[in-house]
């Protein structure tokens, strides 16, 4: 009897030990990567998460508004690319070195009058040359002006929606706000009018350059 009991207890102990050892098989690692791919190919991932289910379309609209705000903020703070002072100086060198290409006021207006309602009020005799130049992938309207001092002044107009003028120091001349950049011996005086920006470049003082910029003005005020 005692022997039977001992055998029964021993048998239970072995059974438990085998069960415990077998349970450890459940910890053998398996690679589910191929299975995961097979399943994902057939069972779509849920499109919605819990918060969206709770708030419904309102949450979706909120998310869309947030996304729009983020995009708008990004555009507002980064804006279009900005030309460097060296790039504008290159434009100046090109035009100042070349003799006249087009010499009439109407021809000058063609590149300068980039925005509707804007007009170049320079006289024909004042224009040494005018053309469109490409800086990078951006087109600029350029006019070389004969100055009394014989030093060339080049005016450039650009589309502010596509490319910005170089960042400069804010200056006020005759009640108007300008931005001034000095690159070597060249002063660059810039002004934003509507969706365009205009720049007068030359070795003349900023006050003189401001007078040239005043030749480009809106036709209607």
């Amino acid at each position: 009897m005692d022997n039977d009991m001992t055998q029964h207890d021993e048998s239970d102990a072995v059974q438990r030990a085998i069960s415990t050892r077998l349970a450890r098989l459940n910890t053998i690692p398996v690679d589910t990567s191929r299975l995961d791919q097979l399943l994902r190919d057939q069972i779509p991932m849920p499109r919605k998460h819990r918060p969206f289910l709770v708030f419904g379309w309102l949450a979706g609209a909120g998310a869309a508004a947030c996304a729009a705000l983020i995009i708008a903020a990004a555009l507002l703070f980064t804006g279009p690319p900005r030309l460097s002072a060296a790039e504008l100086a290159g434009v100046y060198q090109n035009l100042a070195a070349q003799p006249g290409i087009k010499q009439t006021g109407s021809q000058a207006n063609s590149p300068v009058q980039m925005a509707p309602g804007m007009v170049c009020m320079l006289k024909s005799g004042q224009i040494a040359s005018c053309c469109r130049q490409t800086v990078g992938k951006y087109r600029l309207a350029c006019v070389a002006v004969k100055s009394p001092s014989r030093a060339s002044v080049v005016m450039v107009a650009g589309n502010a929606g596509k490319v910005n003028c170089p960042q400069g120091q804010a200056v006020t001349i005759a009640g108007h706000s300008y931005s001034l950049v000095v690159s070597g011996h060249i002063n660059m005086l810039m002004r934003r009018v509507g969706k365009r920006w205009y720049c007068a470049m030359g070795s003349e003082k900023p006050g003189s350059l401001a007078q040239y910029l005043g030749q480009i003005a809106p036709t209607k005020r």
Partner: protein, 203 residues
């Protein structure tokens, strides 16, 4: 609790997105357990993956009938796995698996096999069993008849309760206990002797 039981439960109409969410919440975390179980059955990775995929896709299609509160998801999945295995997989893959088993290289007997577990079981049984590699234990499971193997895989390896295992296998709880007892003995005999033929058993 087999898949037929699930069909008796009134279906809740869920959208595809809700079903997908439920799938990735409930079933996806169990996929490794199901795949591992399938590998113990098929012994081939690709077959195990196919069997697991079939199981989980069936579960996905029946998911709107699964009641989270009343059922163990693992037990439900293993029930579906058993049905898949019984219905088609075993029939189509059986012969191939037999070939695979025969061609599998056998490990040389381990030194610990010469030990006598029954003589030292009061203190050393667990140590002796732990000295056998996982592969050796899997080899032992392979030698079992299918009913014994299922009982051991469901209760000992997958930690299902006797009731859940009985429901999955469609047999009374007493039968599960009996198969477990005999199955573990066959495992022990195999480990002691290393002889396939002595471990083969039928109920």
């Amino acid at each position: 609790m087999n898949s037929d039981t699930a069909q008796d439960i009134p279906a809740q109409k869920l959208t595809e997105s809700e079903l997908a969410e439920k799938f990735y919440q409930l079933i996806w975390p169990e996929r490794a357990n199901i795949l591992r179980f399938a590998m113990f059955l098929t012994h081939r990775t690709c077959d195990a993956e196919d069997l697991t995929q079939e199981t989980l896709l069936k579960a996905w299609r029946a998911l709107d009938r699964f009641q989270t509160r009343n059922h163990n998801i693992k037990a439900w999945l293993l029930t579906i796995l058993r049905n898949c295995w019984t219905d088609s997989f075993r029939r189509t893959r059986h012969e191939r698996n037999q070939v695979a088993l025969e061609t599998l290289p056998q490990e040389p007997p381990e030194p610990q096999q010469s030990a006598q577990p029954e003589e030292d079981q009061r203190c050393d049984v667990e140590a002796i069993l732990n000295s056998f590699s996982d592969q050796r234990m899997i080899d032992a499971l392979r030698t079992l008849g299918e009913d014994y193997r299922w009982a051991i895989l469901l209760v000992d390896v997958s930690a299902l309760s006797y009731d859940e295992a009985a429901a999955a296998m469609g047999v009374p709880v007493g039968t599960v206990r009996s198969r477990l007892f005999r199955g573990r003995r066959m495992v022990r005999d195999f480990l002691i002797s290393g002889n396939f033929s002595t471990a083969k058993g039928v109920e």
